[in-house]
């Protein structure tokens, strides 16, 4: 397993957010992390990246326990995060955002610009002047520039226009076809399920269900995902 999360419990100060999340991502696999709002999807991701290190449980990346590592160390092991809300560096140019993060590997500036031609057009513009969709592309591009073994996408298409969402999903499918391991959080089932190899559903800070998308019955959807 590339990523193996078992029984993690994470706290924000005194209040507990995760009560035992189990999650695995294999090499080349796309795993969808699902659940209703406030159930702990983002906290799980923050725990994996050690922005909010868990108090209990174990997270292993490529067989290595990440306990005690600082956030930048985990990133260097090969976890590329595309955070919720498209967090670019607003006062750097598109090119600077990308090259600042670069680590050697197959992803280069030229390849990112082929994947997202819009970024090539806006190379010398400030990230703050980009549209929401373009900022999202930049955030994905920036994470890819670190040549991650695991790409984590947290709500990558939230609040974007349908055309842009279509583009981003297309690029995610391209990445999957190339064998990129991806952990993805998204609310649009129609687009998420066809891409995912497996799904993990979190409820109230616990892993409630894991399985292939085809096994996701209406009953489970109603109980764990319905609003």
């Amino acid at each position: 397993m590339l990523l193996d999360v078992s029984g993690i419990e994470t706290f924000y100060g005194a209040s507990q957010a995760l009560f035992g999340v189990d999650l695995t991502v294999g090499e080349g696999e796309v795993v969808a992390l699902m659940g209703r709002n406030g159930m702990g999807k983002t906290t799980t991701i923050r725990s994996i990246c050690r922005l909010n290190p868990p108090r209990k449980g174990r997270i292993a990346f490529d067989g290595r326990d990440t306990a005690g590592l600082r956030a930048f160390r985990v990133a260097r092991l090969g976890i590329g995060l595309v955070p919720e809300g498209r967090r670019c560096f607003p006062n750097l140019t598109v090119r600077e955002n990308l090259v600042a993060a670069a680590r050697p590997g197959q992803w280069t500036l030229a390849r990112i610009e082929t994947l997202f031609p819009r970024l090539a057009e806006r190379r010398d513009q400030f990230a703050s002047t980009l549209s929401g969709g373009e900022q999202q592309m930049l955030a994905i591009g920036r994470a890819l520039m670190t040549n991650p073994r695991l790409l984590i996408l947290d709500e990558a298409t939230e609040g974007l226009a349908p055309v842009i969402r279509h583009d981003i999903w297309a690029s995610i499918r391209t990445l999957k076809a190339e064998g990129q391991s991806i952990l993805v959080v998204d609310k649009t089932m129609a687009e998420l399920l066809p891409v995912a190899d497996r799904c993990t559903i979190i409820e109230k800070g616990r892993t409630a269900w894991t399985g292939v998308p085809a096994a996701l019955t209406d009953d489970i959807r109603d109980r764990l995902l319905g609003v």
Partner: protein
């Protein structure tokens, strides 16, 4: 050419024009004034790397300025008195050697100060850099070998191979040349990958960590480079005044460098140059009228902070490229 590049060029050419004009009309005193502007500008260019690009408000850069000054003073005094330094090394009056010494000494001290100070942030960082600078200040006062509180005189200005540094205009060109080198370094750093990461660290440290870059190391490197540039300026300052004293290490000096940058424009290429020109002009012209010229400097600073946050460069060239 962008508007900012044009404004930067105008500011630098204006500084260059002062001594040329002064020579033409025979008012050689203004050459000294322009040299002072160039040296203070260089010191502030150094601080601008930490403060402007990295957002590190160092209130202790006088330490590096003073260490550069003492490097010049100590080496020159040993050369003058023909006394060897510890380990039998000879003193020297060659500027390139003195500059190299100033760079290495201020760099090493900055590495130690930075390694500790950069573990803090915000107001604590300001205070801890101040505390380190004050330690060095009191050390200089209580160290009798090099004049203690009275300071140390350099009897003959140090030499640069091939030119006569005793000539005011020539010395100005030496200082101006180093200022240009400092500005080149600043712009190269700003546009490099390192510069992007440094500015990213200022904007959001966590976000930088998630792409696998340790903000601490980037900042430490920037802090050391920044101190080295300020150190060279200190060596030049000692040569200009032919005198070094603990006042170069005092917190007034640290404050002065910050004021220069705020007046000129934080993080802007030519900001320190504009700030230094304005500051020295104020000091001289208003200082001639009233002893309390700093009151007016204070009012100007207040006006800049309240109404023109980008300083002189911001006023002339518009908003910062990197906010």
């Amino acid at each position: 050419m962008s508007r900012e590049t044009l404004i930067s060029l105008v500011i630098v050419l204006a500084l260059l024009a002062i001594p040329l004009w002064a020579t033409a009309v025979g008012e050689t005193f203004y050459i000294t004034l322009a040299t002072r502007m160039a040296i203070l500008a260089l010191a502030a260019v150094g601080l601008n790397i930490a403060l402007g690009l990295g957002g590190l408000v160092s209130f202790g850069h006088a330490a590096f300025f003073g260490i550069g000054g003492y490097a010049a003073g100590i080496l020159a005094s040993h050369a003058f008195n023909m006394e060897p330094l510890p380990f039998g090394l000879p003193g020297t009056n060659a500027m390139p050697v003195i500059w190299a010494t100033a760079i290495v000494a201020s760099g090493l001290v900055a590495l130690a100060i930075g390694a500790i100070s950069l573990r803090t942030a915000g107001v604590y960082f300001i205070m801890i850099t101040l505390a380190f600078a004050q330690m060095i200040f009191y050390f200089a006062i209580s160290w009798p070998a090099y004049g203690g509180e009275d300071g140390l005189s350099i009897f003959v200005r140090n030499q640069f191979p091939g030119v006569n540094t005793l000539d005011g205009l020539t010395f100005f060109f030496v200082c101006f040349g180093l200022l240009m080198a400092g500005l080149l370094l600043f712009s190269l750093l700003r546009d490099s990958r390192f510069g992007a990461a440094l500015q990213a660290a200022r904007q959001n440290e966590r976000r930088l960590a998630t792409v696998g870059i340790a903000p601490y190391r980037i900042r430490l490197a920037a802090f050391v480079i920044s101190a080295m540039v300020t150190g060279v300026a200190g060596a030049l300052f000692a040569d200009l005044n032919r005198f070094v004293s603990p006042s170069m290490l005092s917190w007034h000096m640290s404050g002065e460098l910050i004021v220069l940058i705020i007046l000129g424009g934080v993080g802007r290429l030519a900001g320190p140059v504009a700030g230094a020109m304005l500051y020295v002009a104020f000091e001289y012209f208003l200082g001639g009228i009233t002893e309390r010229w700093q009151l007016f400097l204070g009012l100007l600073l207040l006006a800049v902070v309240l109404f023109a946050r980008g300083g002189v460069v911001g006023l002339l060239a518009g908003k910062a490229r990197h906010g």
